[in-house]
Symmetry: C2
Subunit: 371 residues, 2 copies
């Protein structure tokens, strides 16, 4: 389904902004369509639609659920076509999963890779209900020499000259993991259009690019998948590393729900002096979050925050809190998550040419008033 | 409830971007929080939450519906406090209403007023259910010398040095119009947090700033309201007009659901040659939309589009369509709405210092491929 239409399409190559170059109208057009989680919405365990981040590569397709079909084919013994009723009549599972865009943090990088310009907010947590993928693949009879499984969406567009239906491959081993779902509900209701109606893939622990929306095809390959989204787009490229490592699981991150109240234009924060409970969420797709440290002096000293519950939902963010005794003056809050694999957030960003997986710590300046 | 905290808060004055100045990180922080309607979502008569535009001046407040109260007071004979159950037990009305941000089109202006940087997408249409406001005001007994009614939300912040709860005034005559609602449902479900949960004002025909979200107070005044949002923020200012006219009802606008498919980064459109049904929506808050004209040659010639139905929902956008026989090459589509008062969209923007009510026609370049 992926075809190149060659150089006649004026699709620009990937680029990095010049020093001091402001956000362009192209980046703005993406920022007005796609949206992040307003940070005060970190208060919700489960993010309502409209507050959960959304990234749509092309257009949201119009799909009639009555005629929608999912084709399972390729290197399988029993190819098959499923309707939405077929999926809904299979065993259903609900999982609470935190999704984050691999490009989150991109617009904080210097120089700035030019693409969807996320700051820190491309995240959300939902209850996804659907049927596990692995039994479906087993019923289809995956060939013993199969390597990858390709998931294709109904969304169609051009990226850097390549006309394509959005498609992402997973290794067979990853596709067969128990937690992977074909989801048809978000927070107990049919998927909203922008989250993949009627069916999307959910791959707990992975960045958003793996959770293919508007899913229409599952193809098992006996060779590695070489589609654009795996071999070009979602790679950690730098000058020493032209092909780059693939983007896979979510790196640890903590976000702070900023205290006090904002200035409209600058989003600068103001708070009254005294005791504040600073709260936020922390997550990692690699291992459970084991700790969150907080600094209220810009990183000179660190205290341990309380990380709450969360064992019930191993793929979801965990709430954390910290009591801050705020004295008048300028302060900078920072939170830093660590996971059970020992990965911690860096204090300086890890730059790469496409602006992927930047999990640098968030810094929240707060002006505490005199009274 | 509005208090000035003086010049100690580093809140910048309104400004206009320098020539060639890109979008700043402050504008981007607003663009990643607030979001527009992805233009393909013009296909829906009623916009789902998450696709409907949202502008939040400060933070989305956390409100417990059990303890939420609405205070009606000021120049009335019978002040009163209502619970959510009180409102829900009153007569309920549903109205389909198109809301548009007064700042829509701001980032297309040159020079660009620095604020929420909308391009064309700050619009949406929902079914709002609630109870009419006028009977409540009549029961409260509005004083004969009352002038304005002030609606105050629970959202709190700073704008240009003024610490405030978001508050907007309407004249008594406008507040008493039949169509004004206290809405507690959007599209048949409780309001989402970002749309004003549990109760918002809906003032059909007016730009979004009048539809106060998270409503907690209704104050009747015997003098004109002089709050920030009426006297400073939502004004049509220019160099000759320091106080400016107030922003009130929505100017006519047509939007095109762009045909074909997009390039990811530029959002440039590509389409196959042949017959396309070009569709979109058109609205005006001043009078019914009476016509939409379409140009497919950048404005050299204009044809009449078909404007569909719509009498049932006088406050909502109307669908329009136009058959376009697309030949290979570069084209520019434009749509222009006219309303029954004879207002038509301008071909060049009407600049003002705060970037309000820019309803210049939308231009959609399309590359039609050879096959």
């Amino acid at each position: 389904m992926t075809t190149s239409v060659g150089p006649t399409l004026p699709s620009l190559p990937s680029r990095v902004a010049e020093p001091g170059e402001g956000i362009g109208l192209d980046e703005l057009a993406l920022a007005t369509r796609n949206h992040g989680l307003p940070l005060e919405a970190l208060r919700y365990d489960v993010t309502p639609p409209g507050l959960h981040y959304v990234l749509v590569h092309y257009d949201i397709p119009a799909i009639d659920p009555a005629t929608w079909r999912l084709e399972i084919g390729g290197a399988v013994r029993r190819p098959r076509t499923l309707t939405l009723d077929d999926l809904r009549s299979r065993p259903a599972v609900s999982r609470r999963v935190t999704l984050e865009c691999a490009g989150n943090g991109r617009a904080q990088l210097t120089p700035r890779p030019v693409s969807q310009p996320w700051l820190v907010e491309a995240v959300g947590t939902a209850e996804w209900t659907g049927t596990p993928l692995a039994p479906l693949l087993r019923e289809a009879g995956v060939d013993p020499d199969a390597v990858d499984v390709v998931f294709t969406g109904a969304d169609h567009g051009v990226e850097r000259g390549v006309e394509q239906d959005y498609a992402r491959g997973l290794s067979c081993a990853d596709a067969l993991r128990d937690e992977v779902l074909l989801a048809y509900e978000m927070n107990g209701a049919p998927l909203p259009p922008q989250h993949g109606f009627p069916v999307r893939l959910v791959v707990p622990g992975w960045y958003g690019m793996a959770h293919v929306k508007w899913l229409v095809g599952i193809d098992v390959l006996a060779r590695p998948f070489e589609g654009y989204q795996n071999t070009v787009a979602y790679r950690l490229l730098d000058d020493r590393n032209a092909d780059g490592e693939p983007v896979t699981r979510i790196r640890p991150r903590a976000l702070i729900a900023p205290p006090g109240w904002p200035d409209f234009m600058s989003r600068a924060r103001f708070a009254r002096p005294g005791r504040h409970v600073i709260e936020g969420r922390a997550w990692s797709g690699r291992a459970p979050v084991t700790g969150v440290e907080v600094s209220s002096d810009g990183g000179r000293s660190w205290q341990t925050a309380t990380v709450h519950d969360g064992d019930e939902h191993p793929w979801a963010w965990r709430r954390w809190s910290y009591e801050w005794d705020a004295s008048p003056g300028q302060h900078e809050l920072i939170a830093r998550a660590t996971d059970a694999d020992g990965h911690a957030q860096p204090l300086e960003p890890d730059w790469n040419r496409q602006g992927m997986t930047n999990n640098v710590v968030q810094r929240v300046p707060v002006t505490v008033l005199a009274e």
